[in-house]
Symmetry: C2
Subunit: 435 residues, 2 copies
């Protein structure tokens, strides 16, 4: 068993280690065989290092093995670090031993070096190979960084992490677009959001967050919808729309700042010069957006939902800075959204957009039981099917507000990817259940 | 809208604040009306503080409101902090204003003060009210702490956080006990574990972890099974069973140590004097356990699975110290478990138990494609249905090992609760889909 506790990662190699013996483990990223000299690029989870195997200066069996290597072989290397003016890391490694741990097929369906790009469908089909490309190394290390930042940001502000059930008996927001599950002979659904649970829980813990999968059975064919996605959800007692908008604004700034600071190599690989957005983010009333579009001759009226086309037109005005659209028509929002006191046609609700894409959505929620029941009925739903939820509004439900943020939508826009599938390890869409 | 940015949490109150004006928000935990003096306990997410309302020393309307309060009313209080020898926190608050934000029904179905205990079924029925009890305050704050420790522990060791799909096309470990989902007319399943995905991903990122829901359609009626649960999963390239056992051991010690350090108040509420387990944890071969049981006249033979009864008998020998049982019969473990080289009847696999309960399970995995295919067939499964997974074993699959840890099982045993439902916000069992 090639367990190698004395192993060194490529990121730990430096010119100061000149002359030191190291053990390396990883994949053959590429081989260049020039006859009397063979260059092997070894890739591990941290990066790539060059192995230089020169006839005469290494044991002959090492040269032989080096010549037999092909891309994606898994190897164990023992060698000596040598300073180098030419090599990327400022060093190369001269192996005195190469052991092949796991042999790869010679023909690899995806070119991991990136020299021959593949289309997205092929890439997703061979996802694990595709993920070995530098671009994906960067994307998913950034996702990892973003997740850690989100949690530490929320934990510092007194939020408690919760997990709410994903198999549920009642539709959260209406009933359409739910995946059905056979639950021991009963009909159940997959949660499209933790909405009702997080509202209940903020009547206990006041500030809760959850980062977990959500499921929507929507038949979309866009580059920004998935049927399973990771939702970052918060809910906060004794807060209104403005409180949670500010929280979200602070969080987004913190995410960009951290990624810019801590993921320099990753951003470089992706060719992105990340601009940290400035606070406060621009805020536009829904009605202002409608007016703007109408002035530009677009046929849209108050009460209509904003399409991607509308947002594309409107966002030209804003640029890359994230912005809020708030005070949406009550009728366009889910039943739990609080209507404005002075004008119930409008609601205390908002979306956070980056360019043309909604990345988060939230608002003040209704905490009055009678109003909530009325709104459920007004949206054509049956309060009876929400009785298990509604009962808790009798026992001290505090005013509260919250939002849900699509992790992958944020990543897609931040990293300027063209399709949300690029920033999800194993995307699920209407047509894609595998791998 | 009672947004109160100048709000003080009960945890921030201290005798040094004597004479200071504070705003408090929270729930009426209890009221004691002695006629000319009313004591109100105000509860917020951090704890409880006493409000003392004495006729003559507060405005008469404040006394009136105080007398009208009932348990679980949500209130906003403005008052003056006063040192007190008698009160729990060393202080009380003398309100000059009390505003009722959200009135509760007088009859609350669960006694949140804990004076009248309810049975678990009633507690789960009114879960959000039950969760307001001090015991649950403690349990879920500890869960929160445990989650943060697990992640920081793994991140420090170079693990990257991943999310794998929960809607899947193929059964991970065989096909039985899966919840079926209707996926746009196709049959899909809910993932019972991220096993195959995390193995694939360790051929990319080498060290991955995921903390996410898992789903098993098992018809259990025990105090330690749930049909939806949070699984802490890791997978590690270039590692074997012993590496990941040590990692797990270190993690468990770190969890106990952190909880003991950081959750003193919570442990006190639960009446638990937490003992941090010592390393190394005892390790017993499966065959040793069988021998031990046979010696005690229990009818069991090599090859049998160990029942809860068996583990109850065996664990008396060990006490509360977590321990490993390893080298399980290959036939008892999932197909991806690596058989021992010198004796393929035994496998490089382990369980981590606390007393009679398995809290984690793992081992070395097979990384050789031919062997994996053979094991799939030997377990009566069809390699064809794993083709999407198997194909990746052709392109440089490193040796790897990993484990899955049941978050709630660990909490249940650590916090000495009798039923796993007590440490899950909204448990899902055969009979329980709501709330």
């Amino acid at each position: 068993m090639p367990v190698c506790r004395s192993r060194v990662f490529t990121s730990q190699l430096s010119p100061e280690m000149d002359g030191r013996v190291v053990h390396l483990l990883g994949w053959v990223h590429d081989v260049r065989d020039l006859g009397k000299i063979v260059f092997v690029l070894l890739r591990d989870k941290e990066g790539i290092v060059q192995l230089t195997i020169k006839a005469g200066s290494v044991p002959s069996e090492v040269l032989e093995i080096a010549k037999s290597l092909s891309r994606e072989d898994v190897i164990h290397v023992e060698g000596v670090v040598k300073k180098s003016q030419i090599a990327k890391l400022g060093i190369e490694v001269i192996p005195y031993k190469i052991e092949v741990i796991s042999k790869s097929d010679r023909v690899v369906p995806i070119d991991i070096t990136g020299k021959t790009p593949a289309d997205l469908n092929t890439r997703l089909k061979y996802r694990v190979l595709d993920l070995r490309r530098a671009e994906n190394w960067a994307i998913f290390r950034i996702q990892h960084a973003v997740l850690q930042v989100i949690r530490s940001f929320l934990v510092e502000r007194g939020f408690i992490e919760v997990f709410t059930p994903k198999i549920i008996a009642t539709a959260t927001e209406g009933g359409a677009n739910l995946f059905r599950v056979d639950y021991f002979g009963k009909v159940a659904y997959l949660a499209q959001s933790p909405q009702l649970y997080k509202e209940q829980l903020c009547a206990v813990f006041e500030r809760v967050f959850e980062i977990a999968p959500a499921f929507r059975a929507e038949k979309h064919d866009t580059n920004y919808h998935l049927n399973e996605f990771i939702s970052v959800d918060i809910e906060m007692a004794f807060a209104d729309m403005f409180d949670v908008m500010e929280l979200l604004e602070d969080l987004i700034v913190e995410i960009y700042r951290s990624v810019k600071d801590r993921c320099r190599r990753e951003l470089q690989v992706l060719g992105i010069d990340l601009r940290v957005p400035e606070k406060p983010f621009p805020r536009f009333k829904y009605s202002e957006v409608i007016d703007y579009l109408v002035e530009r001759g677009i046929e849209v009226k108050w009460g209509d939902d904003l399409s991607t086309y509308h947002l594309k037109v409107f966002s030209e005005r804003v640029g890359q800075q994230p912005y809020f659209i708030y005070y949406w028509p009550t009728a366009l929002r889910p039943f739990y959204t609080k209507p404005c006191d002075d004008n119930p046609e409008e609601s205390e609700s908002f979306d956070l957009n980056i360019e043309w894409l909604e990345v988060a959505s939230g608002g003040t929620r209704i905490h009055d039981k009678d109003l909530l029941e009325r709104r459920i009925r007004e949206q054509g739903l049956d309060p009876q099917s929400f009785s298990s939820h509604l009962q808790f509004f009798k026992y001290g439900m505090p005013p509260h507000a919250g939002w849900g943020l699509g992790l992958s939508r944020l990543l897609m826009m931040m990293l300027r990817r063209k399709d949300i599938r690029e920033v999800v390890l194993y995307p699920r869409d209407r047509y894609r259940l595998e791998p």
